[in-house]
Amino acid sequence: MAFSLDKAELESELRKIADYIVTLKREIAVLQANEIHTQTIPGAGEDLIAVVTSTEGATNEIMAIAENVLSADASDPVAYKNFVDKEMMALFETCAFQDLTGQRISRVVKTLENIESRVSRFASYTGVQDASGYASDKEADDAKRRERLLLNGPALADDGNKQNDIDRLLASHRGE
């Protein structure tokens, strides 16, 4: 199919494309993809690692206290009470970890909200459609593994089966 544009029309079309590129560049800049890649995501990752570490540390300290109390010599009631009181104070102190982990998780949630806001603004402006499939082979392999091995992860509250439901399920599938 043959078509032709006169010089004025061609200039107009090229100007529109140039304007679009300029605006697109501005939108990409607003996206701050480099900052997300080099600072925001690594920062959120560090926060989450710190949450895991402090939660694990506190859990181990709490278990150590419980083990100490369970194995303590209770033959002298006064000494035993003093010992248990001291261990219980340590228990209260250990529970302070929740304040810090709560703050860290709030910061990660805010980070995710900011990224979501920037990405949705960019997608909305450019009118891009979601591509099907996965961004990388690793992502695809991970998804296949999760599906094949039923790796759903912990359910949210009110989702998934409770122990009573599971007991009933097991009973109903007895003999299979």
Binding site: E56, T59, N60, M63, A66, E67, L70, L149, L150, L151, N152, G153, P154, A155, G160, N161, K162, Q163, I166, L169, L170, H173, E176
Partner: protein, 129 residues
């Protein structure tokens, strides 16, 4: 028949904290001979070296999951009859049904308490009705 508190138990979980919790709960129930493994592959190696009276395994581990471990155990004539309890956060129906079909003896959803662990161990070793 109640569970023999002298039997060796293998606890499989990739979180040391969870192994410590289960080990402590088992100790309170009278089970002292407890070994541990961090995933299905390590557990399979230990199962081939020592006869265990019970396996208590998490589901979601790498490189080998508890679900894969269960199927490997049931497929091995020397290990096939080893009682196997899954202790996991995987609570969807498809997980429970798949585990049952693969031959799990009981299934505990996390978080759980000492009474649940005791009840499920007792149920595994109770005479068939």
């Amino acid at each position: 028949m109640a569970a023999d508190t002298g039997m060796p138990i293998l606890v499989v979980d990739d979180y040391k904290t969870m192994i410590r919790i289960i080990r402590n709960l088992l100790k309170q129930l009278g089970f002292e001979d407890v070994d541990e493994a961090a995933d299905g592959k390590e557990a399979l190696g230990k199962l081939k070296e020592k006869k265990y009276g019970l396996v208590i395994s998490d589901w979601n581990m790498e490189p080998m999951t508890g679900y894969e471990l269960l199927r490997e155990v049931r497929a091995d004539p020397d290990l096939a009859k080893t009682p196997f309890i899954m202790v996991t956060a995987e609570s969807k129906t498809e997980n429970v049904v798949a585990a049952k079909k693969a031959g799990v003896n009981n299934y505990i959803v996390k978080p759980f308490n000492a009474a649940t662990l005791k009840n499920k161990i007792d149920a595994v070793f109770a005479p068939a009705a």
